[in-house]
Amino acid sequence: MDVSTYVHMVLSSFLLILGYCYVSGGFRTVTGICFLGIIYTFPSLLLKIFPLTESHISNLRPLFDHPFSSYLTAAKAMALEYLGFETLLMYYPFLKTPEKAIKWAHFGNLFSILIYLLTAITTFLYYNEEELARTIWATLTLWKIVDFPFMERFEYAGIALWLFAVLPNICLALWATSRGMKQLFHFNQRYSLICIIIAAAFACSFIEGRPNIDWLNTITSTAGFYTVYFYIPALFVVQWIIYKVRKKKS
């Protein structure tokens, strides 16, 4: 069996098995890997120093040279990057002191916004518009300028490090999905988890090449956008009305 043909399947099943190990350990283990994911990947932010030495300040000007609608389109396209916070609705009952956690949840969101802002500004300073439009993985290509005396091609190490950015997301999503199935259908969480993993591995086997990944990203982004901005608020309104009606009856 030639590895390169099936490499994405090998990689996805490897990640999913790893995901199973973490999720089957319970929610505590999932929070553990999420925490470690932050700790391990945080130093990679320092690598932005390398591209910043070749930055062009004039790329940022003139400020606000686009119509307002362009900003909205951009914000919609960013939906994929912000997805994931809605899993809070699943693990909220697991928090020990939810009142105290509110502050930290907001700080957490602010922190990811700041990281995105820093990444965006670094990227705009380093590439110009036309060059960026031709780049698929902008941050990964940023790392191609990283120059360490002991490491010639840093980006390969960076990709390995990126596993720790991806793994917590996989674990948290797997946990939330299996938990949701348990609550909805009263399935055993372990069995539903195995079903989800098999389904995910099966789905991954269909992904081939860049256009497919792009398509997947767009679909996830659009679905996520409507879930976050329409479905969840709608649920909130419906729930509010139901509670009002029930109160009146009683």
């Binding site: 390169s4 099936y6 090998v10 098995i17 199973y20 004039s58 000007r61 036309e130 290509t141 010639e152």
Partner: protein
Amino acid sequence: MRNKWITFLAFLVCLSGCTAEPKIIEDLQLVQAIGYDDAGKHRVKATVASTITPKNQEQAMPKNVTFTAESFTSQNVLHVLQSESPRPLAVGRVGVALFSEKLAKRGILQFIDGLQRNADIGRDIPLAVVKGEAKEMLELQTPVNQIPAKYILDLIEQNQKENIPNSDLHSFLYHLYGKGLDPFMPLLELKDGLIKIKGIALFSNGKYVDDINYEEAFIFKLLFENFKKGSFEARIGKNKYINIENISSKVNYHVINGNTNPKVTITVKLMGLINESEGISLNVKKKESVEERTRKLINGKAKKLLRRFQHERIDPLGIADQARSQTRNFNFAAWEKRYPTIPIDFKLDINLVEAGIVEEKK
């Protein structure tokens, strides 16, 4: 417990499939430099320079070896080269890419594209145009007993700190794709068994169209970026020359009416140090006159350079990009049409602060 063992076994099965072909660094032929030459009829001749360490010798110096092959595309040529090398060629450590003058005039977009698509090649590698053949340069026995690839890399890096503008693969791509910018790279020459920087090769759409010499490169650098080194010779009278070392130079572009009636003002603030001025007393009054003469000299050269770029319709300094950043809804097409006739003013604010460790007798 049983579950754990099952997972463990599953890992073993999966991981055994993950053994991609291992690469052992001692067994690779690490390519240090690639040179591209024109081979006629749309063909390219590539030369890769690598090193081998002679075995069974104590304190053996790495020896330069080159492989040469011809093909139509820059990436296929790497595979053709493999047919000459008993060890696998690895391009992950390529330090510099050279293009022969003839090939650069034909256009190098295809080879640049090959370099940027190859994930193994970094974006911080310098590129250079070579007068004559790149192959010849990579086969050179350098006087300092260093392999040519390393020699060229050091040469370019050192000079980019001083008299020639910074450029590497990334900045070439930046200038190539960016609107209102044209790329450039250092121009090398092989002379009397020495590799030497001749100046800068200027490109228009991936074709080498013009070059400027080493002295003009300093003026170019003044106009292009802020830097802290380099030196300049000024004639301040009949058979009287002084040398001015740059301590700090800052450039600023100011564009007004970018879309309607553009006017560009380039201001350079130069802090210099006079390090050779035999026979010229440098009192306060004299210092001012020296500054004035230097200003005039640099002014003239810079304006000549700018007019030349306008005449040739190339913009390696990225004046249009500066105009874009200072104009709302900038119109590139209108600018390009107007470019040769746009008035570009150059102002030099020179301040000579020191005159070395000796003093004139008062």
